[in-house]
Symmetry: C2
Subunit: 228 residues, 2 copies
């Protein structure tokens, strides 16, 4: 079922702009930029109709070029999809900057959580998660890739923060991994699951902040030192 998306008019424009930027000797090569453009377009198609529902013809049509060109950049649909997930992981990892705990642990946690949650609840990340779930049976290393970013990178940040807080005596959490899990659960709340099930829209900033405040409050009540 080919959607009626007849040759996007912006495709040729882009092509021209690519050529120009090459004249000015920018860092990313033609190929890289074109590759990025393919990933971007393909991602939007996968988002709309899912992995199984997307066809390479659909992608190349919307891209404006020919299928042959598409296959010149990616050897298969699977490889293209993998590149999309990889790129999304990269974007997420870039968001998980390392935080150094301040004296006020509550505000440190809040700042960090806002950053983390904004990323993790966004339409893009949620849709990627859904696609990974769809493909994770056929292609288990996709979820592993995701795991390495979302769990290792994001979680290690949290663990580092909490470990430092524990060492400074701000909290009393002998089992840091467990405490991290509790915090993460409280932060994600109901909402993350609902998002994945397509049962809730992207939360507003206000909703996110309320949820984070509650999570931090519950967490600190359990793990905080009496003096804190």
């Amino acid at each position: 079922m080919e959607l009626p998306i007849t040759n996007f008019p912006d495709a040729p424009e882009l092509k021209d702009s690519l050529k120009e930027s090459a004249h000015t000797k920018d860092q990313p090569s033609f190929k890289d930029q074109r590759r990025d453009r393919i990933i971007q377009v393909a991602r939007s198609v996968f988002y709309e109709v899912g992995y199984a529902g997307a066809s390479m013809s659909m992608i190349s049509n919307r891209l404006g070029g020919s299928k042959a060109t598409l296959y010149a950049y990616f050897n298969s649909k699977e490889e293209l999809f993998e590149a999309i997930v990889r790129e999304q992981c990269g974007e997420m990892a870039a968001l998980f900057q390392r935080h150094i705990g301040s004296d006020d642990l509550r505000s440190s946690l809040t700042v960090m959580a806002r950053q983390l949650m904004g990323a993790v609840m966004s339409d893009g990340v949620i849709r990627t998660i859904q696609l990974v779930v769809e493909e994770s049976y056929r292609n288990p290393h996709l979820s592993e890739m995701f795991h390495n970013v979302i769990q290792s990178q994001g979680r290690d940040n949290l663990i580092g923060l909490l470990q430092a807080a524990h060492d400074k005596g701000q909290i009393d959490a002998p089992n840091i991994a467990e405490a991290t899990m509790v915090l993460k659960s409280l932060l994600f709340g109901d909402c993350h699951f609902k998002r994945i099930m397509n049962l809730a829209p992207e939360p507003t900033e206000g909703q996110l902040h309320r949820q984070i405040d509650l999570a931090v409050d519950v967490f600190m009540t359990y793990y905080g030192r009496p003096t804190d």
Copy 2:
């Protein structure tokens, strides 16, 4: 790609047993039992290869009958899948029996949570969730159906329990819905998400119990009355 599952030998046997049971005038008719058998087999196929990966031929082969028979019971692949999800929802709903809080809220919560979590973390339910996620874009009312069970049924039980506890003065939770969300998040923890992403096997009973104990402890520390 047809899997090498040549005509299950048990299919004819079953057919015979169906006929026999009709003689004895059991409640479920031929059709009902046969329908259940189809759902059961189809579910196992969907579990193995996903919705898109499963073909009706594959299902009817494994069933032992012909495709025509399959279509005599279900008008389309989608309808069959919907029946599977509906049945799984029914099974889950049956597990969420109503609990009346005892004087010991901690133990009430623990008992209820063990029941809930055992269901919700099981391979069957998790795999169904994954399939629903896969199809929820094309077929949004599948997730709604799920939502009605897992959220309304399961959650209403929790809400009822907590409301009673609040009324009895066992906890101080002016916003019951919020408290329920906190409890649910703590119970599900990391594990549920990991399960959905195919990153963790079904937890052992010991792991479940530890997680539940921690969740209840955190919850009661925050919401419990000082006297409790």
